[in-house]
């Protein structure tokens, strides 16, 4: 522990001697709290707005195909001549919507905001292990955002091969316009993004392992930290594989290699590529792609664990089982990627293996869901907006997760693979659930981030409209998927067979548009509360974790004096023998008090 104390002294030293300028405080900041806010604004708010607007345009095109639309004309310009969306730009919207939401909003935005904010504050550290790397990580992320957005302004349009960018479609500029400069920019942006993500993850891992305050053993960590920690580990294991896939694809595209390409005849000529295989790319992509689902989901579940316990005024049920299930999910997540490839042409025997591992992952997931429900049982539920979003998360996690039993079963996947059924499944289980996690986190830690409270009534309006619309959008979508309707179709009007799904598409789009409007309520609440919100008290939710022992005003080093020591686990809510219904982690054990259950 002595090493840790030394670092603290050193940090104190820094605090006293460096005068902060505007640039070092707000732009090239090395303070984890400022970096968290930078991630929040760039990743969640800005990229989130762009990603959601794209999804609404996609929905409008599907509901009213090939009809002139003023929105398209205004937002898409030359790609919507006379307001009719072009088929290539439709695919580009689908692609960039997926990329933005999965990587920029729900990976960088979610982990970047809450891992940065909460890891040092909840484990009792002055800052991240390396403030400098943390700053570099953010600015690399910023650059990757800029490159990705700029790809919309190149001649032939942005990448349009789907967020999975399977070659050869993504490798050959003659296969579609989006595979020209737009795809190069996509790959460059993602390479920078991965570098950013790796720097961030390494920092999180090192910080959690080395900078915990006195008494903060691994089994006294809040579940948020466990989730962020394991998420970072999964990221470090799987993102390099995507980087290698992206680099090999760049080689194939620009330097004539044949890693993923073979025997291609396109636009009247035979290409020189020989010996490569697109299936290899699929393996590499999904080796990241599937763990990515948990990189998105685990932090949201961690946030939920914390918020449900605090607002139920009860210990999280089964703390150790929760940790074990996070570990089990992390392990299994790296050996299930093949379930995206049942019909890719890989050996059917592999299909059997991946069916087996995939369905296993339902077990730790079920444990988590039941533990959340039991935590509510006989609680004293404080229905703050963060709590509503957390309960909402558990609800969509169950609804979306259950259909995974169908998709993970190779025999059943044959007929629903790449249909709207898949779209409904993953949007509920990772899209909506993770977004709920983001919202819950923002409502809960807004006082910590900005020293002010968000308006709860607007929070309630935001939640209830969003919750109803999320089911309104994605529940009926399962049915049109099971009718065999493929995803990523610009219009379904060439298939009279699917005419009976058209009305449902309109209903879904109306729900989506209303859900979009509800986000304006959130945005208004968020921005106005930063400036005009009610001033927050130090510990508004009467929570046990260490971040609420730090002063409301942000300061370098987080605590003015010594870092608080930890004497108990974070879930002593409503513990018998105490007057208050919460006992913060830094409160020493009473004489004769037993440390229970962890």
């Amino acid at each position: 522990m002595s090493a840790t104390v030394d670092t603290h002294n050193h940090d104190d030293h820094d605090v006293h001697h460096h005068k902060e300028t505007f640039v070092t405080k707000y732009i090239f900041s090395q303070d984890h709290k400022m970096i968290a806010k930078q991630y929040l604004i760039t990743g969640v708010i800005v990229m989130g707005i762009i990603g959601i607007l794209m999804s609404l345009m996609i929905r409008m095109q599907i509901a009213w195909p090939e009809q002139p639309n003023a929105v398209f004309q205004a937002l898409l310009g030359k790609w919507a001549p006379e307001g009719v969306m072009d088929a290539d730009i439709y695919l580009a919207l689908v692609t960039i919507h997926g990329t933005l939401m999965v990587f920029f909003v729900l990976t960088a935005g979610l982990s970047g905001t809450f891992s940065n904010l909460l890891i040092p504050l909840q484990i009792g550290a002055r800052d991240m292990a390396s403030g400098f790397l943390n700053m570099v990580s953010y600015w690399l992320f910023f650059v990757s955002c800029v490159v990705m957005i700029l790809s919309f302004f190149v001649e032939m349009g942005p990448a349009a091969a789907g967020w999975t960018i399977y070659p050869p479609l993504s490798a050959l500029p003659m296969a579609q316009p989006g595979s020209g400069t737009g795809m190069t920019m996509w790959l460059v942006s993602m390479a920078i993004f991965i570098a950013s993500s790796l720097l961030g993850s390494l920092n999180y891992i090192v910080t959690v392992l080395n900078l915990r305050t006195k008494g903060m053993s691994m089994t006294r960590l809040p579940l948020t930290i466990w989730a962020f920690f394991i998420t970072a580990v999964i990221g470090v294991i799987s993102f390099p594989v995507l980087l290698s896939a992206a680099l090999l694809l760049i080689m194939d595209r620009s330097f004539g290699t044949s890693f993923f390409l073979s025997d291609i005849f396109i636009q009247g000529e035979v290409l020189h590529y020989q010996g490569g295989s697109p299936v290899l790319y699929e393996h590499l992509f999904w080796f990241l792609g599937h763990p990515e689902v948990y990189i998105v989901l685990l932090p949201a579940l961690g946030i939920t664990s914390e918020i449900i316990a605090t607002n139920s005024r009860k210990p999280i049920f089964g703390y150790r089982a929760m940790i074990l299930s996070i570990l089990a999910i992390a392990f299994l997540s790296t050996i299930v990627w093949g379930h995206h490839m049942f019909v890719s042409g890989m050996n059917p025997f592999l299909g059997s293996v991946f069916t087996f591992t995939t369905l296993l992952i339902a077990i730790p997931s079920a444990v988590k869901a039941f533990n959340y429900i039991t935590t509510l049982w006989k609680g004293n539920l404080q229905m703050n907006p963060a709590m509503l979003f957390s309960i909402g998360l558990v609800s969509t996690f169950i609804t979306g997760g259950l259909t995974g039993i169908i998709l993970g079963d190779s025999a059943l996947d044959i007929n629903v693979h790449d249909t709207y059924f898949v779209v409904a499944h993953f949007h509920l289980v990772m899209g909506i659930s993770a977004l709920y996690g983001v919202f819950a986190g923002i409502y809960h830690w807004f006082p910590k981030m900005f020293g002010r409270m968000m308006n709860k009534n607007l929070g309630y309006i935001h939640f209830w409209i969003t919750a109803v619309c999320a089911y309104g959008v994605f529940f009926p979508m399962h049915f049109i998927g099971m009718a065999g309707l493929p995803r990523r179709y610009y219009t379904n009007s060439n298939f009279p067979l699917f005419d009976d799904t058209a009305d449902t598409q309109v209903v879904i789009t109306v729900f989506a548009l209303i859900a979009g409007l509800a986000q304006i309520v959130f945005l208004y609440n968020f921005i106005s509360s930063i400036f005009y919100g009610k001033k927050a008290e130090q510990n508004p939710w009467r929570s046990n974790t260490l971040e609420w022992t730090a002063p409301v005003e942000h300061m370098h080093g987080n605590w003015p004096g010594e870092i608080p020591h930890v004497h108990r686990w974070p879930y002593d809510y409503s513990k018998p023998g105490h007057d208050e219904d919460f006992v913060p982690q830094n409160v020493p054990m009473k004489e004769g008090e037993e440390e229970l259950h962890h």
Partner: protein, 354 residues
């Protein structure tokens, strides 16, 4: 018209939200508002949780009521189809039960234990028996589903050469399908895209020197004899495509540089399928929708839609570029005699060359 109506609805909702914001803002003037939920909020949201539970149940029932005919879970047209449909039905029942129960518990607890000032929650942190129960039950249920699933999967994917299947190549290109039959010998001639010679109309790159290739037949409409096993060999000349035949519960990607395969036995001819009750209802319904839409179109001076008649389809189900949304081929399942008669009319590869 629908677009206009929707815009009006959306505007209406926007105004409603704006009004709500104003009401809440006004209500907060002067009140000591901490922005932390109080008993009133807990109560209101607790009741809303029950309302939401009802909403989930209602939307489930409505979806089954109005959209229950959509899912392809019966009336399959292949031998292995009922196996998949059964497994799907069993999985759906399991999902339905778990969903109904867990959503009830979640929302009911959220309602029942809504916070009240002065009440203390139960300090209840752990129970290994409970954890064992909800680890054990999913293990058992999933084990059943996995075993059933694996047997079904192996049945489908194992191709039995003893059955002498009809060999058909499905050939994908941006943005259409071709099919190649092995001809008299039921053996496909060797092929590679490097052999494509558009001047000689050798569009699939079939090896002109291969004796097995001479009697191959290349067509743009897939005909299959009923009740004879078919083994499809898939190829693609440019990008990934996926050969999806939903009515036969069949799908396999077409990958440039390799040959993938999928086999099944069609069991219902196109003519018989059109006569099934389910299909008659579906077609009737679709034609009703099309007539409605045609009225709108003709009013605008556009052409009316043609009435729909059912056909099996092969459709592309892997994003493949601009016209991905319109890459399809008609499949006709017919009796052995009809098939043979059709086949006799086709030109062989050797004769089709320029």
């Amino acid at each position: 018209m629908t677009a206009l109506l929707t815009i009006i609805i959306v505007l209406f909702v926007a105004v409603a939200i704006w009004q709500l914001i104003k009401i809440f803002d006004l209500a907060q003037v002067g009140a000591s508002n901490t922005q932390i939920a109080d008993d009133k909020d807990n109560k209101m949201n607790g009741y809303l949780m029950m309302g939401f539970l009802a909403f989930i149940y209602i939307i489930t029932i409505l979806c089954f009521w109005y959209l229950g005919d959509l899912p392809l879970m019966s009336n399959s047209a292949s031998e292995h189809g009922p196996g998949i449909d059964n497994l799907m039905a069993i999985s759906m029942v399991v999902i339905f039960i778990v969903q109904t129960v867990t959503q009830f518990l979640l929302h009911y607890f959220a309602f029942k234990y809504k916070g009240e000032k002065g009440r203390k929650a139960l300090f209840y942190a752990d129970n290994n028996t409970l954890e064992a129960i909800w680890t054990g039950i999913p293990v058992i249920v999933l084990a059943g589903l996995i075993i059933y699933g694996l047997f079904t999967w192996n049945d489908i994917m194992n191709v039995d050469d003893q059955e002498d299947p009809l060999i058909v190549e499905l050939y994908a290109q941006q943005f259409n399908w071709k099919a190649r039959y092995g001809g008299e010998d039921n053996v496909l001639g060797k092929a590679n895209v490097r052999l494509i010679d558009l001047d000689r109309a050798n569009i699939l790159g079939v090896d002109e020197g291969d004796p097995n290739a001479q009697d191959d037949v290349i067509v743009t409409e897939l005909h299959l004899p009923v009740n004879r096993p078919v083994l499809f060999k898939m190829r693609s000349q440019d990008v990934l495509h996926s050969a999806y035949m939903p009515h036969f519960r069949a799908q396999m990607n077409c990958v440039p540089g390799m040959v993938t395969q999928f086999g099944f036995t069609p069991t219902v001819t196109t003519a018989d399928m059109r006569e099934t009750e389910d299909m008659k209802d579906k077609v009737l319904n679709i034609n009703k929708i099309r007539t409605e839409k045609s009225k709108e179109l003709t009013a605008n001076g556009e052409e009316a839609l043609e009435p729909y008649e059912f056909d099996y389809l092969l459709i592309c189900n892997k994003i493949c570029g601009k016209s991905h949304y319109n890459m399809q081929m008609k499949i006709i399942v017919e009796t052995e005699e009809e098939y043979n008669a059709w086949m006799a009319e086709q030109t062989t590869f050797a004769k089709s060359l320029n």
